[in-house]
């Protein structure tokens, strides 16, 4: 178990200190993008397509422009004059900023109305007369690949069908041969539907161009302000927006979860509008815009798992169809078009695996946001964990026992997975044992047997997952060529107080506290004396931002190493002050002392003061350090989750009785914050498992585009979560930390799905796709009864 080296007052690693950032939020003084108000600021509202697929016959601006206060209506034709009507996506596809002839999904931006206030802009949007010629939309991704399907992207040179790319990893032939020779093979087509991040704050921007200084100041709901600034400069440099003239400030952010990584057309139009008009322009999405215009998941996975008859897993194969909507704008590292999907081999030791994926265009919104998971790990874990449970049921073995028999063993790390990752460390057996003990697994098994005998439906579901976070090593990970390192810059002031700046950007994860705790641990400066600053590209060091649970693995490591550089400089200063050789100086938290004479010492604060007042000859003054951290490998947190449910046969209602989550994220910086992240992730895990899913009709209309009908769990739907942890430090991370925030979102859905299907197993129900709603359960029960 990790023990605290520092006192609670210093607040280094392992202390559940309260958050430094809370006060402003509790007093209503947080500063979110929509709170920004600049003199002369204009408001922008989008006109959006009611059709999923249509030709634009005409756009009549006249009535809108006649409304007092409406200053401009910007169309695709207007942007085309500057070659800004299309933009590149993060994965080198192209996306419309505003269309010039065809709309490709419902609610696509058609034109923008700029007015003196939001109400007038809405009036203007109502008054724009757009004439459409609707066409038959393609909603089903399998149909999009049929030979007679119309070509959705004729604008792309060489594009002859709706297929975007094929990707594969592993050895197809050997995997097929292992499956063909196996005693037992279980198969399933698993669909993870479109869902939405639904952060409570929607996306937004305030763009303010100053013609005199030629500077573009942008307030943006962005998880990655530096990367976005670079991309903006690459796209719009030709009109004068070069990188040093652009300043992006990501202020307080009301939840991100991946949805605030991409560039949305509204951002680009607002920037263009401010550039052209010369006044600040604000655009804030409303909830429907937010819900309909971005998505995560939407993977159709054909899975095959092969094993011996007594349950030794031998091979796993998964073929996936990914519905990307009308463009591939998914957020993934450049070299991994399906992100980290190849973690789909899970926590188990076997030789043969093969994963392949084909992506396809349809008339849906672009997206593919890696929603609170490290680039498609959620899909990967759902596939393997459903299949392992299916195998257990097929051969009549306890699902926990089957897992124990197949786990990668503690002594096998670093473990080379069949699809190419090198897992850093883990003790999967200990994690599952702890979860089973905490929930009382054996007692529940007995209770289940009794209930089944009485004809009652009770289920126990397990998920044991391996996450892969911390993108990433620059040899493998980049976004449009920009290597995915991260950074920290520390300035210790003469009085021993500090300011530290980072390339990441918190959206509620508590960076202002945890980064200060890392520095407190390394330097001994109390965490309350360290101010943390992020999100302003004019002041923060370059970094790739906060997503994919990468802040602690990358920027946290950068902070530790920068602090160690500082500590080394401090050692020289301490030796100078104590008039001994540097070799005679030793360090304990917050203090340098002379070896063998601990009473001769200098505190870090005294050393900091000396750095500005009394330095050794030849030394550069000041007490600052910077580090850009390029990790040697990813980190691999893991977990074991167990869920107990009861299902009412008459209605299909599902009651989650217990849920225990044991996470191993390596060494822990702030246990309170880690627990909070796990709670939040679990609720975002029960959401897709039981409630959420974007529903389309055959014409491509979204049927649940507001929070009145898109069911984000409330406190009532969210169970009382029980959490715990094991600790296996990462061997290559400077702090032994791994990252945690996405583990629960990844681990919870299969645990819940496995529990519900386990409950329904006596009725012959062997699989249901999430969200597993009461009506879906009820229908499955009726079908199984009809068959019987």
């Amino acid at each position: 178990m990790f023990s605290c080296k520092t006192s609670p007052e210093v607040g280094g690693m392992g202390h559940s200190v309260k958050r430094k950032e809370d006060a402003r939020f509790l007093h209503g003084k947080g500063k979110y993008t929509d709170d920004v108000k600049l003199p002369g600021m204009l408001s922008m509202v989008m006109v959006r397509s009611p059709y999923a697929y249509a030709k634009i016959k005409s756009i009549d601006k006249e009535k809108a422009l006649a409304i007092p206060g409406v200053l401009a209506v910007i169309t695709g034709e207007d942007l085309a004059q500057y070659n800004l009507h299309w933009m590149p996506t993060l994965l080198s596809d192209s996306q419309m900023v505003l269309p010039t002839d065809t709309v490709m999904h419902q609610s696509q931006e058609v034109c923008a109305v700029i007015a003196t206030d939001r109400y007038i802009a809405v009036d203007g949007a109502e008054a724009v007369d757009v004439q459409y010629e609707p066409m038959k939309a393609i909603v089903n991704p399998y149909k999009a690949l049929e030979e007679d399907a119309p070509l959705l992207r004729p604008d792309k040179e060489g594009q002859k069908d709706n297929h975007i790319y094929h990707w594969e990893r592993g050895e197809r032939e050997k995997t097929d041969a292992a499956i063909a020779a196996a005693d037992v093979v279980v198969k399933e087509r698993i669909h993870l539907p479109r869902i939405h991040v639904a952060s409570i704050e929607t996306c937004g921007i305030v763009a303010s161009y100053d013609k005199d200084t030629e500077k573009m100041l942008i307030y943006l709901t962005s998880q990655a302000p530096h990367a976005i600034r670079t991309i903006l400069a690459l796209v719009a440099g030709h009109v004068g927006l070069s990188e040093e003239k652009i300043r992006i400030i990501a202020p307080d952010i009301g939840g991100g979860f991946g949805g605030k990584v991409p560039v949305y057309p509204g951002y680009v139009v607002a920037i263009a509008a401010s550039f052209l008009i010369g006044k600040p322009v604000k655009w804030i999405e409303d909830r429907s815009e937010n819900l309909i215009n971005g998505f995560a998941r939407d993977y159709h996975m054909d899975c095959e798992l092969a094993a011996t008859k007594d349950g030794k897993i031998q091979a796993f194969k998964v073929s996936t169809l990914a519905d990307h909507g009308y463009t591939d704008s998914s957020a993934n590292p450049s070299k991994y078009p399906t992100g980290m999907f190849s973690i789909c081999t899970g926590s188990y030791d076997y030789e043969h695996a093969f994963a392949e994926l084909d992506a396809v265009y349809t008339n849906k919104a672009p997206g593919g946001v890696a929603y609170r998971c490290s680039f498609r790990v959620t899909e990967a874990v759902h596939a393997i964990e459903r299949m392992v449970d299916k195998l257990a049921a097929e051969i009549g073995k306890d699902p926990a026992q089957l897992r124990f028999e197949n786990f990668i063993k503690k002594e096998q790390f670093p473990y080379a997975s069949p699809l190419g990752w090198s897992y850093d460390s883990g003790d999967y057996k200990a994690t599952l044992e702890k979860a089973m003990e905490m929930i009382g697994y054996d007692d529940y098994k007995k209770e289940q047997a009794e209930k089944r005998a009485q004809g009652k439906l009770m289920g126990i579901g397990i998920c044991t997952f391996t996450e892969v976070v911390g993108a990433g090593p620059s040899k493998d990970f980049d976004i449009l060529g920009i290597a995915m390192f991260d950074s920290a810059e520390i300035r210790v002031h003469p009085t021993g107080k500090a300011l530290a700046r980072f390339g990441t950007k918190s959206q509620g994860q508590g960076h202002e506290t945890t980064y200060a705790q890392i520095l407190a641990e390394e330097l001994g400066i109390p965490y309350t004396d360290i101010e943390i600053d992020e999100g302003d590209t004019d002041t923060a060091p370059y970094g790739l931002g906060t997503y994919a649970s990468r802040s602690t693995p990358t920027a946290g490591a950068a902070a530790a190493i920068a602090a160690r550089k500082l500590k080394d400089k401090g050692k020289k200063i301490a030796a100078h002050l104590l008039e001994v050789s540097e070799d005679d100086i030793e360090w304990e938290v917050g203090k340098y002392f002379v070896k063998g004479a601990p009473e001769k010492s200098k505190t870090i604060q005294e050393v900091a003061f000396a750095a500005y007042t009394n330095i050794p000859p030849g030394m550069e003054p000041g007490f600052e350090a910077t580090h850009y951290y390029d990790p040697p490998n990813l980190t691999f947190p893991n977990g074991a989750y167990i869920c107990v449910v009861e299902v009412e046969e008459e209605t299909g209602a599902i009651d989650v009785k217990r849920f225990v989550a044991i996470d191993d994220c390596g060494n822990i910086i702030n246990p309170m914050i880690v627990e909070g992240q796990v709670h939040g992730g679990l609720t975002q895990g029960i959401a897709p498992a039981m409630y959420e899913g974007i529903v389309y009709d055959d014409e491509g209309n979204v049927l649940n585009g507001t929070l009145m009908d898109y069911l984000v769990p409330t406190a009532v739907e969210s169970p009382h979560w029980e959490t715990g942890h094991t600790i296996t430090p990462s061997p290559h991370h400077p702090l032994g930390a791994k990252g945690v925030a996405e583990s629960p979102t990844v681990g919870a859905p299969p645990a819940i799905a496995n529990a519900i299907i386990d409950a329904l197993y006596p009725l012959g129900i062997k699989h249901l796709d999430i969200p597993i709603t009461p009506d879906k359960v009820w229908e499955a029960i009726q079908e199984s009864k009809a068959k019987a």
């Binding site: 209503g28 952060s199 709670h679 507001t706 406190a715």
Partner: protein, 163 residues
């Protein structure tokens, strides 16, 4: 657009303004009065980020016309820390880690003030139902429930002490 003169008390101060009949109360508070602690999350009264107190009762201000608040006594998140001392709910949300990004927090606290006014000693289930009109996407609610429980205890102790 018809204009209306309205007067109301916000956080103890009287304000008067001429407003359009269609102006929503949340916009009046955020944009006319520059009190941005009250947030907008959904526009459909579903998320509760805009919750304020009107004459002591919690109301979602994103679907409430400013003219309807003429003569009302309104409290927003900016008005509950009396003399710089945190309201017990503000303290409890901090103590129990009941907030992450902080966007839902003002609405959650304003709703909880009303909840504890009408039910000073709620069970966990009553708290969960009591805040079910307010969405939080970060915390998973466990710690929000604990925050409300802590505040309920402290407030009932305070009440006993003053009786």
């Amino acid at each position: 657009m018809a204009k209306h003169n309205i007067t109301m008390t916000i956080n103890g101060e009287s304000v008067s303004a001429e407003v359009d009949s269609r102006l929503l109360l949340v916009h009046f508070i955020r944009e006319n009065l520059d009190m941005t602690g009250t947030h907008i999350g959904c526009d459909t009264s579903s998320c509760g980020a805009c919750t304020i107190l009107i004459d002591g009762k919690s109301v979602k201000s994103c679907t409430y016309l400013a003219v309807r608040a003429d003569g009302a006594n309104i409290t927003t998140i900016e008005g509950i820390a009396a003399d710089g001392t945190n309201h017990p709910l503000q303290k409890a949300f901090h103590d129990q880690h009941g907030l992450h990004c902080g966007f839902c927090t003002p609405g959650m606290i304003m709703r909880s003030i009303d909840l504890l006014e009408t039910n000073p000693n709620p069970t966990e289930e009553e708290i969960r139902w009591g805040i079910s009109g307010n969405l939080c996407r970060c915390t998973g609610y466990n710690n929000i429930v604990k925050s409300v429980q802590q505040a309920a205890e402290e407030m009932s102790k305070e009440k006993e002490a003053t009786v």
